[in-house]
Symmetry: C2
Subunit: 435 residues, 2 copies
């Protein structure tokens, strides 16, 4: 295996010779073989061990074991203990996710501090098969079947083409000692089931299953790359990002035969799951919308608008108690006395103080709102105004209103109400300004 | 299940009510349940049964059983017997491929003759899982993991969302009788292994595995559609089809991040397997090429040229024994006596009969070929001529030469040799013509 690994490194990792490599060593057979192979290849290595403290004394014994092995080989050794359970509880994630997060964070830290170039892990081909089948068992998409990459940023995994059997042979021939891998019990249960009950059947059906599987992974990885590449390209053609909102022109989108697939690619990271509802949105009426846990997807005429959900904001109201009191949130509005009436702009209007009833209220639209738009005769429903002004549904949701006694004084930043505006004979003039 | 099926048909196959449906019934539990369900739904159906004659008396008994069942239900019955083994031997395909081919050919025939609109098969969800795992075990790409479609041309598979367990429950509750499915033994072995040893483990790990799997398939199908859609789009941008040759402009191609994936999509149907060699072609010298069993892929400056392999044609020579004997193949060349010398064109030259040594030979280029191009002084290597004339490598391979005593008389259709051309004092003039 030493030769195979040497050849493999020369072919795919030819850059490692002048690099400092930090090996992630748990003390299990895979990483102990990794350590042995890389030491024999005379590469510049260090050993990093995480003590997740999940199995009491055993965890400490693992750490001690790896430390002794590293010292025996005269390889720098780095150790970090974690209170993994606390972290998991605190961040509301599984033990497994917590451990991964802690591990990679610390590795990155050591890399930087100790001037290493790459983290090297001992993930191997059987791990890939098992992960594929775990994802399959749970339900997945193409992204769950492509395996982990051999090189990803500053993480490299040189064993991905090596089988567990080869590692075991090497360990035996080279008298490698190891300790049983410490890993999350429930993950271990699933992995063991797959390792002992599914993989052997696949190998029986096809004695060169592992080789075939490598080709399968390569094909799937390629297809996944194409999917990413292509969906980014189409996104640029049919979508626009405006601040926090993504605006998808679906008249353009549906020209592509597989427009549903593109939508899926773009939206999957926003927590949506009801895909059929999303595809149906395209044919729904303006105003139909779907929420994910974090986002809102809204059909608005020829567009799908994706924006973060500002939960409950629509029910919030903000008070301005008196003149000279500035509102800071959700937007910056100030009231001050003035002697002159200037032309109103989008950002300032001049009103008659005596017509205002404090506290003024800044709120979103309500059913039945109407106002007397400045420069027009008579009153108008706010909804009609929005329509005439071609507000998108999101625009409507975002529009703040300044009200007095529940009458609209100002559609903030857009249009004043005629009733409140200061006239030439107004005595106490107030300038209301949006900054 | 009747209700589920009715709902499913209304949702996904609402068009079947006015259609004539030809059910493919083997006599196994799946297709007997299909027959029962469709009969109860009062759809207009017929039954088609193939007797593949692979299991002697058992095959005949299956046919008789299905016939009796169809008659009992007063449903039209169509039967065809096949000499499947003979067909497989004759066409050098597996029994399984032979059976599939014979089956679908015959179904299509009956459809047409008897005025049916759709063939209906009883493929179900567990079949999909098993096929996925069979392909996985053998090694596959995305196309091998997407399952069969619920509707494909005039074949429909309404049971794809029904599990084997549901079919078994229905069969029991409705006292359906059936015979064990007749299928290829080795396929059956693999299927049974997977059915009894792998699928139960997946179901144990995830009790709603079948539902998850349906979602997985839907995601994969979508990704596969995107891949097809996208690779067709990019093909139109970077490739040209010129008669039998596909010309890929790889300077344009490599602008796409996943150009390897696109190449794979375009070339996979031409029997190529050495993908890394193909990807390396892009950086290889002009002239490097790779053969599949049927095609040649050639690097030629900025292009990859894909063309059918004309096996051995390059070693073939063709003889013209005498004047007035026409060559018909590989190209149409005639020699006839004439009294006048006209201007030579691309398609005709006038030579001195006394300078020709019969038989003339029509052949492809050979190492060391040279000639005396008409209108030039002196001799020129054929390879130099090709280069100056900007022949592509394929053009060179395709160029036929007319030779006399192994000297080039005519680079056919392109340039005559000065030495053989008739002069004003030539007595016996021969017109050589390419038609």
């Amino acid at each position: 295996m030493l030769q195979k690994m040497q050849k493999h490194l020369e072919e795919h990792f030819s850059f490692v010779k002048e690099k400092k490599l930090l090996l992630a060593v748990s003390g299990g057979i895979d990483s102990m073989v990794l350590l042995s192979v890389f030491k024999k290849l005379a590469l510049e290595i260090g050993v990093a061990h995480c003590n997740f403290q999940l199995r009491g004394h055993d965890s400490d014994a693992d750490a001690l074991f790896v430390k002794e092995q590293a010292q025996a080989l005269q390889v720098p050794f780095f150790l970090q203990a974690f209170t993994t359970e606390d972290y998991a509880n605190e961040h509301k994630v599984s033990i497994q996710v917590a451990a991964r997060k802690l591990r990679y964070n610390w590795f990155a830290e050591v890399l930087l501090r100790e001037n290493y170039d790459f983290i090297v892990t001992a993930h191997h081909l059987d791990d890939q098969v098992e992960t594929f089948l775990i994802h399959l068992s749970r339900g997945t998409g193409l992204e769950g079947l492509v395996g982990i990459p051999a090189k990803n940023g500053n993480i490299m995994r040189p064993f991905l083409e090596i089988s567990r059997a080869e590692i075991e042979v090497y360990a035996k021939e080279n008298h490698i000692s190891w300790r049983e891998d410490a890993s999350n019990a429930s993950d271990k249960y699933v992995r063991n089931k797959i390792r002992h009950h599914i993989v052997p059947v696949l190998k029986e059906l096809n004695p060169s299953f592992l080789t075939s599987f490598q080709n399968t992974l390569a094909h799937l990885q390629q297809a996944a790359d194409l999917v990413t590449d292509s969906s980014e390209r189409i996104f640029e053609k049919v979508a626009l990002v405006e601040k926090e909102t993504i605006k998808i022109d679906f008249k353009k989108l549906v020209r592509y035969d597989s427009y549903q697939a593109y939508l899926y690619q773009w939206l999957k990271e926003y927590g949506f799951t009801a895909w059929n509802d999303i595809y149906n949105l395209l044919e729904a009426q303006t105003g139909k919308h779907i929420f994910s846990s974090t986002h809102l997807l809204l059909k608005d005429r020829d567009f799908l608008l994706l924006s973060p959900k500002n939960k409950g904001e629509e029910e919030k109201v903000f008070y301005i108690e008196k003149i000279n009191e500035n509102l800071k949130f959700p937007l910056n509005v100030s009231l001050c006395k003035t002697d002159d009436i200037l032309e109103p702009t989008n950002n300032s209007i001049f009103v008659d103080q005596n017509k205002l009833s404090f506290p003024l209220v800044v709120r979103k639209k309500q059913e039945g709102d109407y106002f007397y738009p400045s420069g027009m005769k008579g009153k108008k429903k706010l909804s009609k105004y929005f329509k005439d002004e071609k507000y998108s549904l999101l625009d409507k949701e975002k529009q703040w209103l300044l009200t007095s006694n529940n009458e609209i004084v100002w559609v903030i930043g857009k249009r004043a109400d005629q009733r409140f505006l200061a006239q030439s004979n107004t005595k106490e003039i107030v300038k209301i300004e949006l900054k």
